[in-house]
């Protein structure tokens, strides 16, 4: 197995781990961290595809790599936006709970 295949397979697991955390962690900040892990898994799969596109003397296809840089920056902007929303939620309600009210509904309130 080549290194990029190994890394791509590990990235598939990262997506699964992040998804699990996103669902089971009740605190929004923990969900945000898990979501970032999930996103990074997707990025790494994409990066492994870029490496498979090595040609014309380039060690990897530069087009997906450039898109990855864009993706990382946009992911940061989205994370910053979410953190601001979260802090505002706590400021106005005093709690970080995402549970639907009344708290009978079991599951995501996103």
């Amino acid at each position: 197995m080549t290194a990029e295949t190994l890394i791509a397979l590990v990235a598939c697991a990262l997506v699964g781990i992040g998804l699990y955390g996103l669902i089971v962690q009740p605190h929004p900040l923990r969900k945000l961290v898990a979501f970032n892990v999930m996103g990074s898994g997707v990025f790494v799969i994409f990066g492994a595809l870029a490496r498979r596109g090595a040609a014309a003397g380039m060690p990897a296809d530069p087009v997906p790599q450039a898109l990855l840089i864009t993706a990382i920056v946009v992911a940061f902007a989205a994370t910053a936006m979410t953190v601001a929303l979260l802090l505002r939620l706590i400021e106005s309600t005093g709690s970080a709970s995402l549970a639907a009210e009344p708290p009978a509904a079991d599951g995501e309130a996103r």
Partner: protein, 313 residues
């Protein structure tokens, strides 16, 4: 030997990912996430994405980590309540099954990829000399896929407007975060005086080198933003009031110059964001230089968050 190193890195990466999900409290999870981001940049190096590795270390691990760490401090009191909302065994088993299913589907896709992989590298190699830049990533970001980069810059500005609009009405136009106070003779203030000159030189070098070597405006902007944050944290300068017109002009200047260059292309080259023959390199440098202040301001202000006090204090 290299295979062993790769294996150790990916195993550590998996372990840290699990750690961020199962850690006892949010602080431990975020600490794990920062280490995860740094390890991830090693994976990018292994995938021959040096530019991506630099961005990941600077923004993915560094800025995101610092942002989350700041949030942990302000969310301390809400963690205990959240713990009581932990889903039951049934939900967790279902979540586990769903996650395993998604992973299995992705694994099947990865194993079924065509051989050899599709690539645009030959086209990039053929067209790159026309742009005058030597780094293919910069060529893609600012010539072949310049529209993506333009939209990204606009997305960043919109995200910042979104963060600002979360300010309580009475603080609109005010300053974000708390005023930092540090011992003026302390270590922090010392570093905030000594490091910025070095950081500014490194940051500007990364911007300039990005034309022909790994680097570029994002990595450069992150370092410059970090220097500005350091000066603010040491209490040597206050965060700017978001109502400041000069600040707002600096934030929109980059995307506006980018759009102006794009419209110029419409006139000189016949299509939006086209560069006239022989003028690609100066145009690319102009966009990069114009985008730099925008990126520095937006990254630093996204870190600072919504305005939380009036402009006077």
């Amino acid at each position: 030997m290299r295979a062993v190193v790769s294996l150790v890195v990916v195993l550590l990466l998996l372990w840290l990912a699990v750690w961020t999900v199962v850690a006892r409290d949010a602080f431990l999870a975020v600490a794990g996430f920062i280490a995860y981001g740094l390890l991830l940049s090693l994976v990018w190096v292994r995938l021959y994405g040096i530019d991506v590795a630099l961005t990941e270390a600077a923004i993915g691990g560094g800025l995101t980590g610092a942002l989350l760490l700041g949030a942990v401090g302000r969310l301390r009191g809400t963690e205990a309540a959240a713990r009581s909302e932990r889903p039951g065994v049934g939900t967790r088993v279902l979540a586990m099954a769903l996650s395993l299913g998604v992973t299995a589907a992705l694994v099947l896709c990865v194993l079924a990829l065509p051989e050899p992989g599709p690539t645009l590298a030959p086209q990039v190699a053929r067209e790159l000399p026309a742009t005058g830049v030597g780094n293919p990533i910069t060529g893609v970001l600012l010539a072949f896929r310049a529209l993506d980069t333009l939209l990204e810059a606009i997305v960043l500005v919109i995200a910042l407007i979104g963060v600002w609009s979360l300010a309580p009405d009475r603080f609109w136009g005010g300053r974000p975060g708390m005023r930092h106070h540090a011992d003026p003779d302390g270590v922090l203030a010392y570093f905030a005086r000594v490091l910025p000159p070095i950081g500014i030189v490194v940051g500007v070098y990364l911007l300039w080198a990005g034309a022909d070597h790994p680097g570029g405006k994002f990595q450069s902007a992150t370092i410059l933003a970090a220097m500005w944050m350091l000066v603010q944290m040491a209490g040597l300068a206050d965060a700017p009031a978001v109502g400041n017109r000069l600040l707002r002009a600096g934030i929109v200047a980059g995307p506006l110059v980018f759009v102006a260059v794009g419209l110029l292309g419409l006139w000189t080259a016949g299509y939006f964001l086209g560069y006239p023959q022989g003028w690609a390199k100066p145009m690319i440098v102009a966009i990069e230089v114009a985008l730099l202040p925008t990126l520095v301001l937006v990254l630093a202000l996204l870190m600072s968050g919504a305005p939380a006090r009036s402009a006077e204090r």
